[in-house]
Symmetry: C2
Subunit: 111 residues, 2 copies
DNA sequence: ATCTTATATCGCGAATATACGATTAATAAA
DNA sequence: TTTATTAATCGTATATTCGCGATATAAGAT
């Protein structure tokens, strides 16, 4: 009863979907926004900035890290995170590859 | 027992997350790719192009339409869909607003 | 050694998402 | 009118996500 048959799709399709999934929750968008607005790693603070419990924030951070969107180090009772801009560039590139460069010739309206 | 407390986040954060959610499944990426590669609405065909059952494809189309990513009309036993490029532009704009324009000053590496 | 602090992980309940087959709906074709 | 054809919807099983409290972990402070 193979639910989730994502393997029936191409690597590019899976990759883009995987990336989008990481962005698909407002809490993760909010975390990324905070990280993007600073010039340094954020150590702590994040829990205070979000309307979520500490364990929940930690989970979202884990997902973002798993998706490669953020880098992080955990030194004992303190952990630091910052955005991985290269991953964002990669996403933009793939996204544009699939859609944006096709846009011009499709400008005409259909339905 | 408010699960999914997305209302605790800003409209922009929710909007971007909602859009990303629509892109977060390879089947939907594949559908959008097909629609993008044509100059016209696609009437039918989609089910044949995807490794999914008809009802499943229909569900994904519904989600894409609900997210505003595609336009569609259903005339009796035939339905047509095409990409809504304006929605893509809006996504790009919001995405860049939150992240890309912050990138330059953050180019330095941290962790 | 003990206490404090900050983070990660575990376990659970509730909500969503995925997928399919079966059914319904709506038009075209006979 | 009856018969296809095509797409949407319903019902359902299963998987995944979300959120939290409780617990574990790991280092610094006392």
């Amino acid at each position: 009863m193979a639910i989730h048959k994502k393997d029936a799709f191409t690597q590019k399709e899976q990759g883009l979907a995987f990336f989008a999934k990481a962005l698909s929750h407002p809490a993760r968008i909010a975390i990324l926004k905070v990280l993007a607005q600073r010039n340094e790693c954020i150590c702590g603070e994040l829990v205070d900035l979000l309307p979520l419990a500490q364990s929940t924030v930690s989970q979202h951070l884990k997902e973002l890290k798993n998706a490669g969107l953020i880098n992080g180090e955990t030194d004992g009772p303190r952990s630091c995170f910052c955005i991985n801009w290269k991953a964002f560039e990669k996403f933009n590139a793939e996204f544009n590859f699939l859609f944006a460069n096709l846009k011009v010739k499709n400008e005409k309206a259909c339905c």
